[in-house]
Symmetry: D2
Subunit: 355 residues, 4 copies
Amino acid sequence: MIPATMKALFKPSAAPGMEMREAPVPTLGPTDILIAVETASVCGTDLHIFHWDDWAKNRIHPPYIPGHEFCGTIAALGERVQGFDLGDFVSAEMHVACGHCLQCRSGQAHVCQFVKILGVDADGAFADFVRIPASNVWKLSPSIPRDFGSLFDPFGNAVHTVLSGPIAGQTAAVMGCGPIGLFAIAVAKACGASTVFAIEPNPQRRALAQTMGADILVDPTHDDVEATIRSATGNNGVDVLLEMSGYGPAIAQGFRILRMGGRASLLGIPSRPVELDLANAIIFKGAEVHGINGRKMYETWFQAEALLRGGKIDLTPVITHRLPLARFDEAMHLLESGAASKILLKVSGTEGAQP
Amino acid sequence: MIPATMKALFKPSAAPGMEMREAPVPTLGPTDILIAVETASVCGTDLHIFHWDDWAKNRIHPPYIPGHEFCGTIAALGERVQGFDLGDFVSAEMHVACGHCLQCRSGQAHVCQFVKILGVDADGAFADFVRIPASNVWKLSPSIPRDFGSLFDPFGNAVHTVLSGPIAGQTAAVMGCGPIGLFAIAVAKACGASTVFAIEPNPQRRALAQTMGADILVDPTHDDVEATIRSATGNNGVDVLLEMSGYGPAIAQGFRILRMGGRASLLGIPSRPVELDLANAIIFKGAEVHGINGRKMYETWFQAEALLRGGKIDLTPVITHRLPLARFDEAMHLLESGAASKILLKVSGTEGAQP
Amino acid sequence: MIPATMKALFKPSAAPGMEMREAPVPTLGPTDILIAVETASVCGTDLHIFHWDDWAKNRIHPPYIPGHEFCGTIAALGERVQGFDLGDFVSAEMHVACGHCLQCRSGQAHVCQFVKILGVDADGAFADFVRIPASNVWKLSPSIPRDFGSLFDPFGNAVHTVLSGPIAGQTAAVMGCGPIGLFAIAVAKACGASTVFAIEPNPQRRALAQTMGADILVDPTHDDVEATIRSATGNNGVDVLLEMSGYGPAIAQGFRILRMGGRASLLGIPSRPVELDLANAIIFKGAEVHGINGRKMYETWFQAEALLRGGKIDLTPVITHRLPLARFDEAMHLLESGAASKILLKVSGTEGAQP
Amino acid sequence: MIPATMKALFKPSAAPGMEMREAPVPTLGPTDILIAVETASVCGTDLHIFHWDDWAKNRIHPPYIPGHEFCGTIAALGERVQGFDLGDFVSAEMHVACGHCLQCRSGQAHVCQFVKILGVDADGAFADFVRIPASNVWKLSPSIPRDFGSLFDPFGNAVHTVLSGPIAGQTAAVMGCGPIGLFAIAVAKACGASTVFAIEPNPQRRALAQTMGADILVDPTHDDVEATIRSATGNNGVDVLLEMSGYGPAIAQGFRILRMGGRASLLGIPSRPVELDLANAIIFKGAEVHGINGRKMYETWFQAEALLRGGKIDLTPVITHRLPLARFDEAMHLLESGAASKILLKVSGTEGAQP
């Protein structure tokens, strides 16, 4: 039943662009699982790979198959795999940790020293089939809308960021409202944040921020961010900064709006060094700063599932587009134009694909 | 018995220098305590004030009496003070918190939004007498060597820094070995750190670092800091960075030697913005960064006392000089030359003053 | 404007009952505040005092005025009080901590060794006026329904219990659905709990539990509690036990439904020793158990206010009765019959009093 | 080189006693490691198994080989094992976690719901060879005295108990001074505990407690435990209770000497239910109670190694006897007489065996 070859979206060479190719279906080791991809979603990282920017040049080794956000059904099981069945609807943690380093052996596999990311460092999910170590496969609860299956990766980023410290009864500022920022707004509200500020220049994203539950929208191109937040927090500043922009000046501003003794969780990746007034931003402030990488394995997955299972959080508004995988070019352009938030690429099945 | 006037070391005007003057003994409010100063020690902050640098110009309002590290005996009690007696040997927390802000009301008085620091923002301890709110006075256990009394402030900085996260069984790098760095070495070892690296260019300070218990001395002007630490930590990097230098390039290097998922506690104050490769220094690394301000009120004081009481830690090697208060000029020059570590200024009594 | 005498509900002597009396209005020390009580609510503790049970005999010293849940307006200010104005609408923390013990000096004033509870150890709020130290008075935000003002004390108990550990994305069992248990259900849901089980024999309370957001109602007199919870949690047991019953067999059962490595926060007070299978209940289970006393001063108050301010939580269903203070007898009987949940006693004003 | 059969100490049947037998050397699965046992030490659990008490009757399935504390050298490697070499000197975590349950997937493998303990639920280390999953094997640093190799299991229990909460600058009471209690004393002191109380009726154990660093010895058969500790802690009680006795009245007393807001870590296993005054022991006290099971996998192993590596802690005094494995009968009798603390059984090699 498993064909010998499959359609896959390749990064074919060290140059801009991607292309659909026919490729062999991956073979399985004894502890691997083969998954028939149903939906894969597009991450900003994929856009870097598509455009072949400096980061991509240093990290990516073409030819290979990108794609690290997906869901699908189990098509084959390695001989030593237990606890899964053919047909199970699953997603996967694409950070494949080494299992042997200090971090892996002490509850910090999400910062494994020797991690390989499927879809970045090895073949990923923009294909009919993807091979994943069984330890990394996550069964999706039938009570979660099927459409959210490919979003566990970025939704997990948001959950990890928001829940890296206390959030109940806290004020929080989300700096940058791409998909992860939007998810973070919803997670913060669902977990008891009192006032959530969404700071974002793009008006479509601000509108989505409001839909996802943000209490106060701030446009940094027109509003006085610091005055707005001081005023709305009794001049204290926010309890929690959730940094999703990766933009140096925004990060510096984020620390200025953080209250004395507050918590800053940083997920957005700056592309170059950032100049910070460390004395006031962190030291005198007694701030606690958390670098956020991936998702905790697998605490975050349990939390993400629990938050989605009861319908507590609806991710639908963030899914702005659905396209068949073959229309990846269009997806990349929508993403870079700022017109899209999260784009689902339909790989198998027909439901949900917009013609 | 309390005289009307006293000798005090003044910052007399908005210009370099300090001078001894006769001044009225402070009068007490109902909840204040008057302390006859026995010993006051000199902090790097006092040197900034002495030299009238940019920081001092922005913060200090002469004429006033500096000095914020001291010990002495209680000479008079405000009418509503309870729990203290005349003659009690005490030190004091010189950060006078407002008691009303969010931070003060939620266990974070050490980052009070409206703190006044005695010796910086108001009259301090370089005088025969100093007035302190009773809430900030700390009785010194007779089992602690009397000489350590004035050192609770900087020793508390070290305790707060080291104990802001786990230290038992951890490797730690102390970046910068002034008095607080030296204290931090001793605290880390006394609290179960496995290997403590002391990174310091000044050879006298490195020698003191060894005396205080550092396992491995690193001279950043000659040694390859990163290679040394990688090699001594199985290529992991250190579990804990204790940043005491306030020097931008050292801070950046500190993050490079921190292991994935490690903890960095920052106490040293950079005088200007610092450029950090945030992506690698903190975010991908999943680091936890703590800004350290003052001492926790009064958790740190209890910890500091407990660590000193049993003789577990000996601060004596850090006390390199003892001078009478009148020889403050000499103290300031010793400090800036790098020849001194901690200098005790004897105010009352004669014991310990070196002629 | 302040009269010389006032109406007050007294515990007059070491015997069952209470009675209304005329009493002098309290005089103020320099740091006290006099509050004109608007509403006082009745706690189970008041019922113990009313009935003069063994606990009451050992703790209470009549004659005195009980009542420790209240709100009202400031009628007079001690001469050294700052930050409050006449007419401010306030509630208060009735645990008056000593301010000097180890706990008070290290962020644990809620377990002060020398605490005095107003309304238990000294005069309380079942009166026209009550005197409170300014440090314990809490200004109520105008955005919180006025009716909730007297409920900060028990609502704070619930907040402290729920937030003594992680709750977002967790399953939780609330054992016992008196007012604090009902509040805890709402707090847990508002802070991201996935499934909340309400375990309670009284059908009216179970109905209120559902109104407050409980996902699954369990009647321990008819349902198999352990089987129900095992089945609904994939056989894991609950992540979090919130013990509000104080009933020995329920506490023991609570530990049996707690998952390996789970958290139990115990607030309900057993009236006698409890037999626990410590080996399985706590030790092998690797459980973390938190004793909950009062509310954190004042972290819990900030959290409680934040959760109520935005209308995130509605306490109205728990308020089953409103009576004038003079009808305290009726209130006590309603409470002990199990027909009432929280009863508000109206002291001043007429609004809300049901004839 | 691997023989077909080996000598092994068996629990042969459901009756008291053990006996030496010849048995097949275990065969390896692809991810297993075969270890030639050099030393195995005797745990109280082995004594329960030897005597065939009620606990043993319910848990143990003879015939099988007990023994779960050991060290030895790698004799053979399963075909898929990486990172180990023949001849490596190792110990092992004998709790074999399932890897799939909620706990295993969220950093709590030490409380795996489906754990199998080698030496309890399956063949252990009282034999020439033992088979261990590679994931559970721990390479021993050459800088750690070879004699300590078999002690990582009980030493790890002590490390897990002491470090389950803050210990630096804290007072701690160790209740019960068997080997784990003795180790806990040393760990607490090495990690900055200020005053450690050892509470133990057996005078030989009290003497060992002093050798291991206890500051104050208390004999509960003659001393007034509560008065002694109140007096030595300024009437506060201890910050930390480390419960190692498993004896109901001692546990109850332990909570009485714990300060308000203190931490109790419970490791000793009571053989029957314990009656506790929960209201005063835990709830009003605001205590935090930790059930301690095994060792954290593998945070505790890293900590244990770090504490032993630098010679910071010397376990030698606790090793009271060394015997060849064949003299297990003598070992069991020594242990039950209270004359022995930790007994090393030499399996291979001759060094250290006392004739």
